[in-house]
């Protein structure tokens, strides 16, 4: 594996690990209010008057920022250490784990009537 492949794998793994609890516990970095067209930093309540608050953009920002930091730190690690870890396998296994976690969190949608 090349260094770029190592870092891309670390980014995807970190993103998947951070994203699942972020969507579950609402660690959003930003809130968008679509009716007002307004962005707010962090988690914000709906502004009222039937206007929803959208958190998904913020979930992506949170996970992407966290994964960039982790990948940046991984770039500082010695190549010998990076080559010992099976990054390619970990990438898809961790992503599938994250999907399983998210599926579990969303299960009530399938069962409630």
């Amino acid at each position: 594996m090349t260094k770029a492949e190592h870092l891309a794998a670390v980014f995807a793994i970190a993103f998947a690990i951070i994203y699942a609890p972020t969507m579950d516990l609402n660690w959003t970095l930003a809130t968008y209010h679509p009716i007002q067209g307004l962005w707010q930093f962090g988690k914000a309540a709906p502004l009222g008057g039937g206007s929803p608050a959208m958190y998904w953009y913020g979930f992506v920002f949170t996970a992407a920022l966290g994964a960039l930091v982790v990948a940046g730190l991984a770039a500082l690690l010695p190549d010998k250490f990076m080559e010992r870890v099976p990054w390619l396998s970990l990438t898809w296994v961790v992503t599938l784990g994250s999907i399983a976690y998210i599926t579990y969190v969303l299960l009530p949608y399938a069962t409630k009537t």
Binding site: E5, A8, V60, L88
Partner: protein, 156 residues
């Protein structure tokens, strides 16, 4: 505004069809490659050179995703409120899953691009698995979008 959203949504749908075709061919070719080309459609699909699809998949994914993020507020305001009002929990949950699958898929794209640039025996399993995850995400998203458009789409 409404016309603009409709145009974007139709474009989003058309690009999704192209993406669906490309990623499905590539995933089948990666998962069940043929050792010797035989006549017939199935053999032709299995023997595609996945490397040729990677750039197209990435461009289509990014453009479709970007348009999706632009039309998402219209869904949140006009469609999701109706789903909740009528207790259509399953389609609502399908959309929730769609947005999360696509976010995870977006994060896989850099590695996907790199390993399809240099396909080898070493990265074959990961290449197949990552391409399959992308294919499942795209299929799920396409079907969900189709169902939601049937519930409350154009002119409703």
């Amino acid at each position: 505004m409404r016309v603009g959203v409709s145009i974007l949504l139709i474009t989003h749908g058309i690009l999704a069809v192209l993406l669906l075709g490309a990623i499905t061919h590539q995933a089948i070719g990666a998962a069940w490659p043929v050792t010797k080309r035989a006549p017939g459609l199935w053999s032709a699909v299995r023997s595609v050179n996945g490397t040729n699809y990677a750039n197209a998949v990435i461009i289509l994914f990014l453009v479709t995703f970007a348009i999706g993020t632009i039309v998402y507020p219209a869904y949140r305001v006009s469609v999701r409120t109706l789903l909740q009002e009528y207790h259509f929990y399953k389609p609502e949950g399908m959309f929730e899953m769609k947005e999360h699958l696509l976010a995870l898929s977006l994060a896989l794209l850099p590695l996907y691009w790199l390993i399809w640039r240099r396909p080898s025996g070493e990265n074959r399993v990961a290449r197949t698995a990552i391409t399959s995850i992308l294919a499942v995400s795209v299929w799920w998203s396409f079907i969900t979008g189709h169902i939601l458009n049937n519930i409350r789409g154009f002119g409703s």
